[in-house]
Each structure stands twice: as structure tokens, then as C-alpha cells.
């Protein structure tokens, strides 16, 4: 069995489609592109595809990952070329690797995500926002009410402070401010950027008119360093 990991974009054109929808999009694109995808055995065989870390509706990304299992070898560049001809606008395969036999799934190694968050607040200076962000992150803890999907969406108070690695103001221009943040993402702790912004909104009382979020990077931890998921296994093609 051949394992392939692909890195792709989820652009504005497809930002409103859910994780489940994305799965279907890939299944059908793989068929259109005649990629020799392998099927699980069992009663209802399905294509062996899995994604790294789900993205919320409305969020775009430059760094999504999908793992595929193939039944026969195919050059990663060929897969990329074929898929890019078969995927809808907004989804572009950027790069890919072939992985060794017993690699870990993308989903299981994800540890961090870097986001760029654009917010619109009128009449607010760079310095003012910068110090607000510093005050926000300097709090002892940042408590929010979090929905627990596994417990019937019951609300539970949680401290998200440990989930924020960094949060910085990258720039301001005509009411548009760009925040850069590195958040824990994956099974050891996961913070959605929307939730972070909700907490920030509550903390500041700002009237944020619009929030645009883009995932810039997804990392795995390898020997104490954060690396791109493609670098985690094998070599980049």
C-alpha cells in the first residue's frame, strides 16, 4: 500500500463547504482524475482518504493536508497535476510526498496551526490595539464557555490561555488590522481561532465588524521543533 500526503489550499471559493462536503469533493475528484485510490474492505467499502485538521465554515487556508492510500504507485507530481485539473476552484494541490509504510496519519501528528486573522475596527490605532492584545494575552487565565460536541453541546467553562502560543498584531491599515497567532491544534489541545476572537471581543468590548480568518500553516512537532506536515514524513516532491 502506498501512502501519499498532499498539501492543498482551501480558498475563498470553497470556504463555505464543510469538512464532510470536502471529503465528497475529494472522493469525486479522485475518480475524475483516475487516481488508483484504495478502498477499505468490509461491508461498505470507502476510499481511503483522511484529512489532517478540520477547518470551520468560512475559514480559508493555505495549508490543508490529506492522506491517500493508493493501490499502485503513481508519481506525486502526476497526482498533483491530475487532481488540479479535477478539483473545483479554490482547492489547489501545492505539494505532496510519498510516505513510508508505517507512517502516522496526518490527523494524529498535527500539533499547532498558525492563523492570520483580519479584523475591521474603525477609529482604532495600531498602538492601542497592540497594547490591548498584550493585555489580553498577559491575563492569568482566559476563561470562556465552550460547547462540548460529545456531550450534547453542553457548555463548559474552560481556560484557553494554555492553548495560545502567541498572538501578535502584524499590521494595521485603514481600520483593517491583521493579527497573527499560533494556536494549539490537534489531539493534545485545540483552539479554534473564532473562539479566540470571541474571547478577545468580550475582553475588549470592541465592535468588530468583520473577521476574516486564514490558516497559514499547520505543524507537527518533530524533535522539539515545529515542522510542516510534509516534512514530518519523508521528503518533499
Amino acid at each position: 500500500m502506498i501512502g501519499i500526503r498532499l498539501k492543498f489550499t482551501k480558498g475563498s471559493e470553497v470556504k463555505y463547504i464543510s469538512h464532510l462536503d470536502l471529503m465528497r469533493v475529494f472522493q469525486r475528484a479522485l475518480r475524475r482524475a483516475s487516481i488508483p485510490i484504495s478502498y477499505s474492505s468490509g461491508f461498505n467499502p470507502h476510499q481511503e482518504i483522511s484529512f489532517a485538521a478540520p477547518l470551520s465554515l468560512g475559514v480559508t487556508s493555505n495549508a490543508e493536508y490529506v492522506d491517500l492510500k493508493l493501490t499502485e504507485p503513481m508519481d506525486v507530481r502526476e497526482i498533483r497535476r491530475r487532481l488540479n485539473n479535477s478539483l473545483p476552484e479554490g482547492i489547489r494541490i501545492l505539494a505532496g510526498i510519498e510516505m513510508g509504510g508505517n507512517h502516522k496519519s496526518a490527523m494524529s501528528v498535527v500539533s499547532h496551526s498558525r492563523y492570520s486573522i483580519e479584523i475591521y475596527i474603525e477609529n482604532l490605532s495600531y498602538c492601542e490595539l497592540k497594547s490591548k492584545i498584550e493585555a489580553f494575552t498577559a491575563q492569568k487565565d482566559i476563561r470562556i464557555m465552550k460547547k462540548q460536541p460529545k456531550k450534547g453541546f453542553e457548555l463548559k467553562e474552560t481556560d484557553i490561555k494554555p492553548l495560545i502560543v502567541s498572538m501578535k498584531l502584524a499590521g494595521s491599515k485603514e481600520g483593517k488590522h491583521t493579527i497573527d497567532c499560533l494556536l494549539l491544534s490537534g489531539s493534545r489541545g485545540n483552539l479554534k481561532p473564532e473562539l479566540l476572537m470571541e474571547a478577545f471581543k468580550e475582553f475588549t468590548g470592541y465592535d468588530i465588524q468583520k473577521i476574516k480568518i486564514n490558516r497559514e500553516q499547520v505543524y507537527a512537532e518533530k524533535n522539539g521543533k515545529l515542522v510542516d506536515l510534509l516534512e514530518y514524513e519523508g521528503f518533499q516532491a
Binding site: 475563498s12 471559493e13 470553497v14 463555505y16 463547504i17 464543510s18 464532510l20 462536503d21 465528497r24 469533493v25 472522493q27 469525486r28 475528484a29 479522485l30 475518480r31 475524475r32 478502498y39 461498505n44 467499502p45 465554515l57 468560512g58 479535477s86 473545483p88 476552484e89 479554490g90 475591521y120 481600520g175 483593517k176 465588524q209 468583520k210 476574516k212
Partner: protein, 618 residues
């Protein structure tokens, strides 16, 4: 404020606020995008229901690509925005837009609606209003699009006569292009609106209501329907594609992002039906039967699979088992696609031991349940409706299913059929019990676990162009009595009983056989907030009652009245090929419980073979 233009505002702002933005994206795989500057005709193809329903409809898929195949035409899709989206649109003054370009459709050349069921009519009114287009034909001027409609409900177009500028009756593939050709000429001649409608009316199948006058008798029945000028045909004949061989079928279809009701390739294997069930409108209006050749079907399937990436093909028709060489077709498809794991499904296949074998061999994902449609509970009742199944057939087929391990079956019935008595209702329960008994005859170790028999009883709605078009519908009270009776009679832990809301069926009955007076009622009901009437959570019976009261129209005149056989019916100026004479004789036979055989063996004289273009019955 922060958006460069309205399109961006719609995409970034509105879509971020609604529950299912995937309905409004418009860039699905195989969707067609053209530069509006480079086309002459812009067509908004509207389905008056939500995206998931509309996108599951085969006719729309065909016509969308047919129009877009014309270089100078840009056809876009429009669905009824779900109420959350509508609210956002109205709040920010966003008019109804085409999904592909996000341009407002009030500047298009055509706005076309497909009429699949009566309970979508208020959505048409609502969509026109959302588009900023005047609701009534007479209020529109040269700057407005032409509003056109087609689809099965267009065969009784009268309840929409003042809203729709013109109707297209019958199959659209040829007439739509002919109308477009007239439009091209008209547009370059810079004629008046009327001039276009006049030339459109010359296309066979086109009905322009304003060129026909209706006179009424004192008792409100119709005295006369006639064309108001000489160059307008007295009768409008439905269009039929003479031969499906080589007739248009798209080689690609739009593949939605979100899950829709029927998310698969629909391969239309034939049109029409010869069985002659007397309650079934489709069986009459889609005649004659025309099959596509196996060779061509396989070719089409090939192209669609390649261009869509779908994993399932469903063979679509009114009665799949009647395809002359189903075995051969299935064999060909299976041998081609089994290795690429493409599944086949047969949505309208009658279950018997032959088809059961087929399903078991072929259907990839084995559905846990099977559906049977005896339609009525006693043999007498089934003879009245000309449903040619007997109890033995049914028990044998269900038994064959149980023998092979199925344990969930669904049985479809209608209640409120003409001449029905409580004995017939009791018969439904009796039949369900026999099905249960049959299950227990299978040795325990061989049968599937957890028997569940679902009995689903819908209320009969008499439809135009059927032998029952003269019949009254049961009153709501009677239908409820029958439902209650059945519910009691059928109580058993293995049986689940489902029924339809009789209030909706009543409204359906009113509109199905409605005349022009209903147009005002419809607009009034919309003003009172009616929309998405096909959806339980939105259907508002009281508002409808109010609308009828305010317009002084009596519902029972349409739903609960027995028509005289010589009464002029609101759709008498429309010729579907099957003659009134034939329907009358079928009606009389039905009352005597006489059967009419399937006309594939020998013609029973319905008249469709005399419809000029469709003389194809052998």
C-alpha cells in the same frame, strides 16, 4: 463599506450569516460560467424550492446544459432562498440573483420556473417579489424579463395565468430552443413585448394565457375558453420528442458541494408509461413510451461518470422494470463499472422475484429496506384504480424479500380513493398483517432480524388529465376518520404507520384542478405570509383559509365537487394527446371495477398516437 461590490458583499457578508451557505456558492464542478458581456440572452432557470430539492431534479439538469450549449445564451440556476437567507437579503436590499454570476435576475431576458408540484406556487410569487419583478404579467414592461414556466403542473396552467407570461407544455428540449430563436429575432428587431409573445405563441406547445378568454356560467363552471385572435391556436398541443435516439442529453452535470436529496447520476432510460394506473397523472401526460437505445445509454453513462466522478448511477423512468431489455442494459453497465466500484440503483423498480435477484446482484450498497406500492388494500379497490397487482403477487414478492434476509419493508397506499369504503381501509390493515405473517413463516435462523413494516398512507388528490379528474376529493374530516380508523386497525408493534397531512392534500387538490380565479388567492396567500407550503414547518393552513375568505373563493368548488362528464374543465384547451373521450371511458370502467390492460401488448386507444409528432406507438 468594506466591500468592493455587491457580489462580494453577498458572498462575504450574507453567506457568512446563513445556516447553509453551500446552497448559494454557484461554483460547483461543471457549473457553467460565462462572461455576461459576451452573451445575448440571459436565462434564470428557477426551481421554486430549496437547493437540495431542486438540484436533484433531472429536467433542470438537462435544460441547464441544453441552453448553455448555445454560445449566445447564459443560463444560471436559481433556487428559492431558504427563509434565513431571504431574511438577510431583504434586510440588506439584495435582490434575487443567479447563482453563477450573482447578478440580479431582474435584468435577465428570461426567468423560467419549473412547476413540479402545486405546493411550490407561493415560492414562485415570493421569488418574483424578491427579484423585484412585478407579480402580474400585465404590470411588466419592456425592461422586465419574460416569465416562463414548464413542467408537469404546467398542464393545468390556469392558477398561474396572470403571473406567468407564457407556458411551455410538454418536453422542453426542442421548443425551448425554438422560442430562443424567435427571441433572437425579436430582440434585434426591437419589438414590443406583445410582439414577442405573439410569435412565441406560434411555437407548438407554447401557451400565452392572455390570448385566451374564459367565460363562466352562473354556477361558476366554465362556459367557454377561446383564443381571442385568429392567429392564436385554439388548442395548445403538448410537445413530445418523437424519438429519444440522438435526442439531447448532457454529457456533464453539476456536482453539488453539499449533500442533496438525489446525489447521483440519473440516467433516463425511457419516458412515458403504459400501465394506465387511473390515479397517476405522470402515466398519462408523459405518454407515449419512448426508450433510449442501450448503446446510447451506455455511452451517456460513460461520459457522465467521467465528467462527474459520481459513484452511483440510478436508472430513472416511471417504471424501470418495463424497459424492454433491462437485463441486457444492467449486464452491460455492471460489466463496465463493477471494477471501478460504481453502483447501480433502481428507484422505480417493481419488486418481484426477478427484480429482487437483480437488486441483490447489482446494488452496491445494499439498502436495508424495500418498497412496495400496492396502493390500495382490497382487490376491488385496486381494480378501480387499475393497479394490476393482486394479493398473491404482493405476498410472494415480499416473501421472496424476507426469504433472502430483508426485514424492513415499506408499503405505500392511498386513502380517499374513489368509491372507497371502510372495508377497503380495513383491507390495508389486513394486507399489512399478512405481510407480517409471511415474515414469521421464514425459519428463524434464516430471516433478517427486527421486522419492521412501514405502512404509509397518503391522501388521494384527483389530478387533471387522469380518469379521476371529475371526482371529488374526500373531505378533510373523512380523510382523518379513515386515518384514525386505519391507525387503530393496524396497531401492532412491528408496524409503523405514516400518513400525510390531509390539510396539505386538500390545498393540493384545490390547485391541481384550479382555474383562473385561484391566481388572486395565491397572491393573497403569499401576502399573508405563505411560502414553502410543501414544508411542514412553514405550511400555514389558517393563512390559506384567510386568503380564500378575503378573495371570496370557495375551496370545495375545486376539491370536493363532482364534475359532470360534459363540463368544460379549466384545462380543456390543452391537448396532452390522451383524449378526454378515453379518460371518460376509463372513468366509467373504473366505477365498474373493470381493468384496462397494459397497452404494450395491444393498444387500448388512448389517442396519444394521433398527436402529430408523437405517433410512435407500435
Amino acid at each position: 463599506m468594506k466591500y468592493d461590490n455587491i457580489k462580494e458583499y453577498i458572498y462575504e457578508e450574507l453567506l457568512s450569516k446563513v445556516e447553509k451557505p453551500g446552497r448559494y456558492i454557484g461554483t460547483e464542478w461543471n457549473s457553467v460560467h460565462k462572461n455576461p458581456e459576451e452573451v445575448d440572452i440571459r436565462f434564470a432557470f428557477c426551481f421554486p424550492d430549496v437547493y437540495e430539492v431542486g438540484m436533484s431534479h433531472l429536467g433542470m439538469k438537462i435544460l441547464y446544459h441544453l441552453l448553455n450549449n448555445q454560445k449566445d445564451i447564459f443560463c444560471e440556476r436559481v433556487f428559492a432562498p431558504w427563509p434565513d437567507m431571504e431574511e438577510e437579503m431583504r434586510k440588506s436590499g439584495i435582490k434575487l440573483f443567479g447563482l453563477e454570476s450573482r447578478d440580479f435576475i431582474d435584468s435577465f431576458d428570461f426567468v423560467g420556473f419549473t412547476l413540479q408540484y402545486e405546493m411550490s406556487y407561493t415560492n414562485i410569487v415570493n421569488m418574483l417579489d424578491l427579484a423585484g419583478i412585478p407579480l402580474r404579467s400585465g404590470e411588466r414592461n419592456e425592461g422586465h424579463p419574460f416569465i416562463v414556466a414548464g413542467g408537469p403542473c404546467a398542464f393545468n396552467p390556469e392558477p398561474l395565468y396572470d403571473i406567468i407570461d407564457f407556458f411551455m407544455l410538454g418536453e422542453g428540449e426542442e421548443q425551448l430552443l425554438e422560442v430562443m430563436e424567435h427571441y433572437r429575432r425579436w430582440k434585434s428587431s426591437r419589438g414590443t413585448r406583445d410582439e414577442f409573445l405573439k410569435t412565441a405563441a406560434s411555437v407548438r406547445g407554447v401557451y400565452v394565457p392572455k390570448y385566451y378568454s374564459v367565460e363562466y356560467n352562473k354556477d361558476l363552471t366554465i362556459k367557454e375558453i377561446k383564443a381571442i385572435c385568429e392567429d392564436i391556436p385554439a388548442k395548445i398541443r403538448k410537445r413530445v420528442i418523437k424519438n429519444l435516439k440522438g435526442s439531447y442529453f448532457p454529457d456533464k452535470i453539476v456536482v453539488p458541494f453539499i449533500d442533496i436529496v438525489h446525489d447521483r447520476i440519473m440516467l433516463e432510460i425511457f419516458r412515458g408509461c403504459t400501465r394506465g394506473c387511473r390515479f397517476c397523472q405522470a402515466g398519462m401526460i408523459y405518454r407515449p413510451v419512448r426508450e433510449r437505445e442501450i448503446e446510447e445509454l451506455v455511452e451517456i453513462a460513460d461520459k457522465l461518470i467521467e465528467s462527474s466522478g459520481y459513484e452511483e448511477i440510478s436508472l430513472s423512468s416511471l417504471s424501470t422494470g418495463d424497459f424492454s431489455n433491462l437485463n441486457e442494459l444492467v449486464k452491460r453497465l455492471v460489466s463496465k463499472y463493477q471494477s471501478s466500484r460504481i453502483g447501480l440503483s433502481f428507484p422505480s423498480l417493481r419488486i418481484d422475484s426477478f427484480s429482487l435477484k437483480l437488486i441483490r446482484e447489482v446494488q452496491k450498497v445494499r439498502k436495508s429496506g424495500l418498497t412496495f406500492a400496492p396502493e390500495a388494500g382490497t382487490q376491488r379497490m385496486r381494480n378501480v384504480i387499475n393497479k394490476g397487482v393482486d394479493e398473491e403477487d404482493l405476498i410472494n414478492s415480499v416473501g421472496a424479500a424476507f426469504d433472502t434476509g430483508y426485514s424492513k419493508v415499506k408499503l405505500y397506499f392511498m386513502i380517499g380513493l374513489p368509491t372507497e369504503t371502510m372495508e377497503d381501509i380495513q383491507g390495508i390493515a389486513g394486507l399489512a398483517f399478512k405481510v407480517v405473517d409471511r415474515y414469521y413463516q421464514v425459519p428463524k435462523e434464516k430471516r433478517g432480524k427486527g421486522l419492521n413494516v412501514t405502512v404509509s398512507a397518503s391522501s388521494f388528490v384527483p389530478k387533471p388529465f387522469t380518469p379521476f379528474q371529475w371526482e371529488p376529493q374526500d373531505s378533510i374530516d373523512t380523510l382523518m376518520d379513515k386515518q384514525r380508523y386505519l391507525q387503530k386497525a393496524i396497531k401492532k408493534k412491528q408496524i409503523t404507520f405514516n400518513w400525510h397531512d390531509p390539510y396539505v392534500s386538500y390545498m393540493e387538490a384545490v390547485f391541481a384542478r384550479g382555474d383562473r380565479k385561484l391566481c388572486d388567492v395565491l397572491i393573497k396567500a403569499w401576502e399573508l405570509g405563505c411560502k414553502f407550503d410543501g414544508w411542514d414547518q412553514y405550511f400555514n393552513f389558517n393563512a390559506w383559509m384567510q386568503a380564500f375568505k378575503e378573495t371570496g373563493v370557495d375551496l370545495d368548488f375545486y376539491a370536493a365537487r363532482r364534475r359532470e362528464l360534459d363540463e368544460i374543465l379549466p384545462w380543456d384547451h390543452i391537448d396532452v394527446g390522451v383524449t378526454k373521450k378515453y379518460l371518460r371511458s376509463e372513468y366509467k370502467k373504473s366505477l365498474k371495477g373493470e381493468l384496462t390492460r397494459d397497452c404494450r401488448a395491444a393498444c387500448t386507444g388512448c389517442g396519444i398516437n394521433l398527436l402529430q409528432e408523437g405517433g410512435v406507438c407500435k
